[in-house]
Symmetry: C2
Subunit: 217 residues, 2 copies
């Protein structure tokens, strides 16, 4: 048992390598389809290392999630922005969300892992919703509520928040279809910026008009 081993440099190195590799592989294949052998190989470690350091595949998965949570702690509060009007805050939220999902830099697997957990939930979903998704949804719902005006119900704000998120996440979930259906669309940084601009504009327009038609329903 390695309980006092957290100060060891070498073992920590393999633990870190394992975590990083696991993040990528889990994000790419999902929990079930990912294999500990691919993770171990990618980390340059032995197959047994996963069981030794994390007690098994599931332990590794949870450790990856804990790491991810630590990395993005307080990101929702930061999203709030201060001294900005509603339109700007919505634009910021949308752009930040998309960058989080489509970023290719360090820890690109974090957003992907989060998104995958949405469609293939594991036991880690409850914690994920509580720690990361709920706070962000709260921010977005607040923005929607402000845009919809005082007459809007909580129900309407929730529907609109889901519409905003849905528009964005569609580009992630349906990527294979989109690339086939719209060959001109490219998923690079400039493409994502265009998506952000459209979603912001579309949603802003939608909620403004939504508000004016409030008596229609």
């Amino acid at each position: 048992m390695a309980k006092q081993a957290q100060e060891n440099q070498l073992s920590e190195a393999t633990q870190q390598r394992l975590l990083e590799a696991a993040g990528e592989v889990f994000a790419e294949h999902g929990f079930k389809a990912a294999t500990v052998r691919e993770i171990s190989t990618k980390a340059g470690a032995n197959v047994a290392a996963v069981n030794y350091h994390f007690g098994g595949k599931e332990g590794l998965y949870k450790a990856v999630f804990r790491l991810a949570h630590r990395c993005s702690h307080g990101q929702a509060e930061q999203m709030m922005g201060s001294g900005l009007n509603v339109e700007e805050r919505l634009g910021l939220f949308v752009r930040g969300f998309l960058e989080n999902i489509f970023c290719e830099g360090q820890a690109a697997w974090h957003g992907k892992l989060m998104t995958r957990e949405m469609t293939e939930p594991t036991s880690a979903l409850d914690e994920l919703v509580r720690e990361e998704i709920q706070p962000r949804e709260c921010v977005l719902e607040g923005i929607c509520r402000e845009l919809l005006g005082k007459n809007a119900t909580k129900d309407q704000a929730e529907f609109c928040a889901r519409s905003v998120i849905g528009q964005m996440i569609f580009y992630y979930h349906a990527r294979p279809v989109i690339t086939r259906l719209f060959p001109d669309f490219e998923y690079g940084p400039e493409g994502i910026v265009k998506v952000a601009e459209h979603v912001t504009r579309f949603s802003l327009a939608g909620m403004r008009k939504y508000k004016d038609e409030g008596r229609g329903r």
Copy 2:
């Protein structure tokens, strides 16, 4: 080899049972995670039956897709509707799409299989896009174009079409998250109708306003 066996009643019965069971299991677990043993058991057939009748797991998968295509042939054209204005056609499209995805009746697996292929593409995706997705996208894009007015570019119509689809499909892909995040929302028929009404209203409003702000970009 069973080549002249298509007239046989009994064998056809097991083939049909196998196809039906496979549709459900593939839709629920995806191609890779589905097991031929679960399919066989569900169909009340032997494990070897899959290989005997369809040449293997992949052959069965493709047969399931061919069956699904046959079932929903010409559904896009029917969606066009005639003698209806744009708003009504959008409402019809949205409602039809959602019913297709969330229907619980016979062949409920068809929509689920289609949706799963979006996120976990196999070799069947190209055919699926060509046969089913492309035609429907075409209809929706036409509606969007009409709503956006003559000044709108093809690019804008495509973005708006993706926004409409994204709003709806989000309820499918992120179902585990939505049920946790919005405990009051229920996925029954009445819930789906509410989604359809909201998406239609939100998108209609979005595109109308989008159109008016055409010079802003």
